[in-house]
């Protein structure tokens, strides 16, 4: 269950990055996960749901880019993508190679924030002020109900 630790690290890093960019509601988070990181996508998703509850990231969508392993084949002088992670051999010539060029990634690629809508700004801020007069953070994220999260 190292996925829970990874999900928590994603939440920490995203929260930091968003704050640094002036705040905003997070719609989606794109991760690049190499196959050698031994991360189970399903477990990572449920860990993220679990860990994001009670945070401003609740409801954010996880986009996961699966990164296959690529090795450098010295015989072919070429980078080759491997079909799996059990055999580090060039799929063309069979030469074993420990020169790994991709597949260990555990990267936070990008964060999609709720867009600014200039036509709606005035109205939105009026509404915000009207409903939450004490709030000085109009972009405060409201938690979404669990069942709505997976809908497009």
């Amino acid at each position: 269950m190292h996925e829970l630790s990874i999900a928590m690290a994603v939440i920490d890093e995203v929260t930091k990055q968003v704050a640094g960019a002036g705040g905003g509601r997070v719609l989606s988070i794109t991760l690049r996960i190499g196959r050698l990181s031994m991360v189970q996508e399903g477990t990572l998703r449920s860990s993220f749901d679990l860990a994001s509850a009670g945070t401003e990231l609740l409801g954010a969508r996880l986009e996961i880019i699966d990164v296959p392993v690529r090795i450098w084949c010295p015989d072919c002088s070429a980078e080759r993508e491997l079909p799996g992670i059990q055999r580090f051999a060039c799929p063309e010539c069979g030469r074993l190679s420990g020169d790994i060029r991709a597949g260990r990634e555990l990267d936070l690629e990008s964060i999609e924030l709720e867009p600014f809508d200039p036509t709606a700004t005035e109205q939105t801020s009026t509404e915000q002020t009207a409903t939450t007069p004490t709030s000085n953070e109009p972009e405060l994220i409201q938690p979404q109900p669990l069942q709505q999260r997976d809908q497009p």
């Binding site: 190292h2 630790s5 050698l36 031994m38 420990g98 555990l106 999609e112 200039p118």
Partner: protein, 225 residues
């Protein structure tokens, strides 16, 4: 007109761990300490090998120490303390791997200068420790002859991030019908070129080459400074 707002971040998810590990590695290297991270499944003989290793290195007059990670209990630390070297326990309370910050915390107040080799016995698990750098100089994957020859193929991530493999309990190889050539081939497939040592802690077979390999790594560390 609605503008999409995308923050192109391109950073490591475990950046905080990586930074802590990097800082520790610098400290270890500056102090001339070889740090050995032992990883394996539970029951592969990490603690037994470590106990024997600590005893032998101490007998040679070397300054060695160990940090041992377990989900619960300090049984292993107490067992290792019998060798007479400094041992500290990390109880992870359910966490399946050690993280750099846990090691850093356990190092607090420990004088690194003069220490020659520090062993970190990771939590017994062949998956979770894979992506957590602990600032180690060398990651050693242990595999006992009783576990099945296909372990490296089932857990390629951990074997692939290791620098050295040690096959343990070789005194039981015959009894369990261990296929040595097959396991060597499997290790070579998932980590081409990784050196493999074979030990039987109980009988002492293969312990000397293992000790020699550690000493050679430490010399290489000192020379690289």
């Amino acid at each position: 007109m609605i503008q999409p707002r995308i923050l192109e971040v391109r950073t490591k998810i475990l950046k905080a761990n990586d930074e802590t590990a990097r800082a520790m590695r610098r400290r270890f290297e500056a102090a001339g300490v070889l740090v050995v991270n032992l990883v394996s499944s539970p029951g592969s003989g990490k603690t037994a090998l470590l106990e024997e290793t600590l005893r032998r290195l101490k007998a040679r007059g070397m300054s060695v120490a160990a940090i041992v990670g377990d989900l619960e209990t300090d049984n292993d630390a107490r067992r290792l303390a019998r060798s007479g070297v400094p041992v500290r326990q990390i109880e992870t309370h359910g966490l399946c791997h050690l993280e750099a910050a846990m090691v850093e915390e356990r190092l607090a107040g420990w004088e690194l200068a003069g220490l020659e080799i520090l062993f970190i016995e990771n939590v017994g698990n062949l998956v979770c420790p894979t992506s957590w750098d602990l600032g180690e100089s060398v990651r050693v994957a242990l595999l006992s002859v009783t576990e099945g020859e296909d372990k490296p193929l089932k857990y390629p991530g951990l074997f692939n991030t290791s620098d050295l493999a040690v096959i343990t309990k070789t005194d039981l190889a015959e009894a369990v019908g261990f296929d040595r050539a097959l396991v060597l081939a499997n290790i070579e497939q998932v980590r081409p070129g990784m050196p493999v040592l074979e030990v039987a802690t109980k009988t002492g077979t293969g312990i000397d080459p293992w000790i020699d390999a550690l000493l050679a790594r430490r010399v290489a560390l000192l020379n690289s400074r």
